[in-house]
């Protein structure tokens, strides 16, 4: 068995999913989109879930937030620390979202309310969960925005989302996620909409957050390059199942499953391009 360094000395995983299945009932019988998925995220660990569109990776992350579409039925167990997510009341679950458990979406522009100043949005979790007065929440937002390396953060909090560039919007979403120092950050393809240089900056920022705040990160992506750069441990998902797991190095050098090999082979590299050009 490979060595999962983050599991050493830790009492329990931050997030532990066991035999999670998600089904959509239909007249002809249920459609199983996630099939007995088990995965762990240990404290201070960045875990990547990689898979193609429709492999069930996003639904797995939504199940952890308990924000699946109404018709979906989830079975199995999801534990955040000691709390059993699927058994909590709706009220307790609301208390966890944005507080102990933060989510960073794919498309930051469309995830910010266009009618609300950025500072208020970043500070909103403080108001919702800690009853912080708005003024203090907005002051805290300026500090948060600064911590994710947005320049002139004190002025920028008064801007509306459309005044921000794509990279800044994603940083604002990350700042909002960090507002209450969550135990776990779930990021669903947060860099897909960004260009490569900004993408690299955001990945660096996520690593920095793990190092300075000790946050565990569950990173959902289809991009092998991002996984290679960022993650400590990788799960490969295919057709609703986890087909392989391991350290990034092991997955990339000696993939055991055919699907992982295909996935690796499908990634264009600089060498392939050269071959095509000549």
């Amino acid at each position: 068995m490979e060595d999962r360094i983050h599991a050493h000395g830790a009492e329990r995983p931050t997030l532990s999913i066991r035999d999670l299945s998600v089904e959509f009932p239909k007249r002809e019988g249920a459609v199983k989109v996630v099939d007995k998925v088990s995965l762990d995220v240990w404290p201070r660990e960045i875990v990547g879930v990689i898979g193609e569109s429709g492999s069930g990776k996003t639904l797995t992350s939504l199940a952890a937030l308990r924000l699946l579409p109404k018709r979906a039925q989830a079975t199995g167990s999801i534990k955040l620390g000691e709390r059993s997510i699927l058994d909590l009341s709706e009220r307790d679950m609301r208390g966890l979202r944005g507080d102990r458990l933060a989510f960073i979406p794919q498309d930051a522009m469309r995830s910010l309310n266009p009618t609300m100043r950025v500072g208020r949005q970043i500070g909103e979790p403080l108001v919702l969960h800690r009853k912080t007065p708005w003024k203090q929440a907005v002051d805290a937002a300026a500090k948060l925005l600064k911590s994710v390396h947005v320049r002139d953060a004190e002025d920028r909090i008064r801007n509306y989302p459309h005044n921000f560039s794509g990279g800044m919007q994603q940083r604002a979403m990350i700042a909002m996620g960090l507002a209450l120092e969550p135990e776990l950050l779930i990021a669903d393809e947060p860099t897909t909409a960004l260009d490569v240089t900004v993408q690299a900056q955001v990945l660096k920022l996520l690593k920095e957050i793990r190092d300075s705040h000790g946050t565990s990160i569950l990173f959902i992506t289809h991009d092998l390059g991002v996984v290679a750069e960022l993650c400590d441990w990788v799960y490969v998902m295919y057709r609703g199942r986890i087909v392989e797991e391991g350290t990034v190095r092991r997955i990339f050098t000696t993939p055991r499953e055919d699907y992982t090999r295909m996935l690796l082979a499908a990634t264009p590299t600089i060498f392939d391009q050269r071959a095509e050009l000549s």
Binding site: R94, G98, D99, A102, P105, N113, T115, P125, L128, M173
Partner: protein, 282 residues
């Protein structure tokens, strides 16, 4: 930096605001008349003077006098008060009630949506004037009841608009994002949805305002709503009808006042729609 050397954010674009300004001026004129009536009106609207009855416009009575010798200009100015009061309250009732019903229907969907919107369809299927008359008949004759009746007539329209706007906002990711930070349904409705559907509702409110003025006049014309001797444009028209040949100013003056008022609110509504509509920008 734009070519003219001015920051495009600060430069005022008259073309875009043209209709709003013209409409706003007309509306402002009527509102000023309504608010400052006691100071503007040259005579009391109720003061009789049998000697001066049915006088054509003159320097003493700029817009003539009516069948009881009352100053028509003064009555038209005071009538603006009633019209504005009724329209303001009626639009408020329609806007608040309709927005509430439409937003709740769209947000919760399913049978809540079905029950609320079918009720609205039922209300909508009555002709507006008939519905108002029926409501007035059951509520009793008074300006206050006219406001409520007209307001109820407006609820279905506002609720449909609010429901459609809410449905489009609900598909936006920021509503989903609000859930991920732990917002409740009520918080989502007030912080995420309402601020994003205000623009179309305000446009509708301006147009409804014009319609409310017309409806109130129609009710008063039929003898419902404002009761003589109180002046309203509707009952002034109604009495003027009997003197069309001898004293046409009796009908013309309230008619013109209504025309200015309705035109103003319609221009304002159209203008606001253009200003708010992102597709019309530049």
């Amino acid at each position: 930096m734009s070519l003219s050397g001015l920051d495009p954010q600060t430069r005022f674009d008259f073309g875009r605001w043209r209709l709003v300004i013209i409409g706003g001026l007309l509306v402002g004129l009527v509102l000023a008349a309504a608010i400052f009536a006691p100071w503007i009106a040259p005579y009391s609207p109720l003061e009789f003077d049998v000697v001066e009855m049915l006088q054509p416009p003159s320097t003493a009575h700029w817009l003539g006098t009516d069948e009881l010798g009352r100053d028509v200009l003064s009555r038209a100015i005071y009538a603006a008060r009633i019209s504005m009061q009724v329209a303001l309250l009626a639009v408020t009732v329609g806007l608040v009630g309709g927005t509430l019903i439409g937003t709740i229907a769209a947000y919760f969907g399913g049978w809540v949506d079905a029950i609320l919107m079918r009720t609205m369809d039922l209300l909508f299927s009555f002709p507006a004037i008939l519905l108002a008359v029926v409501l007035m008949a059951s509520l009793g004759n008074s300006v206050w009841n006219a406001m409520i009746a007209i307001g109820l007539v407006f609820i279905p329209g506002f609720s449909r608009l609010a429901r459609a706007s809410t449905q489009s906002v609900l598909r936006q990711q920021y509503v989903e994002a609000a859930r991920t930070i732990g917002m409740s349904d009520v918080q989502i409705i007030f912080r995420e949805i309402l601020p994003n559907i205000v623009a179309p509702l305000l446009v509708e409110a301006a147009v409804a305002f014009a319609y409310a003025v017309l409806l109130e006049s129609a009710l008063s014309f039929l003898g419902l709503g404002a009761q003589p001797p109180d002046a309203s444009w509707g009952n002034m028209l109604s009495t003027g009808r009997g003197f069309m040949a001898q004293a046409p100013w009796l009908s013309l003056v309230p008619g013109m006042a209504m025309f200015i008022c309705v035109l103003g609110f319609n221009l304002l509504g159209d203008g606001l729609r253009d200003v708010f509509d992102p597709h019309m920008r530049h």
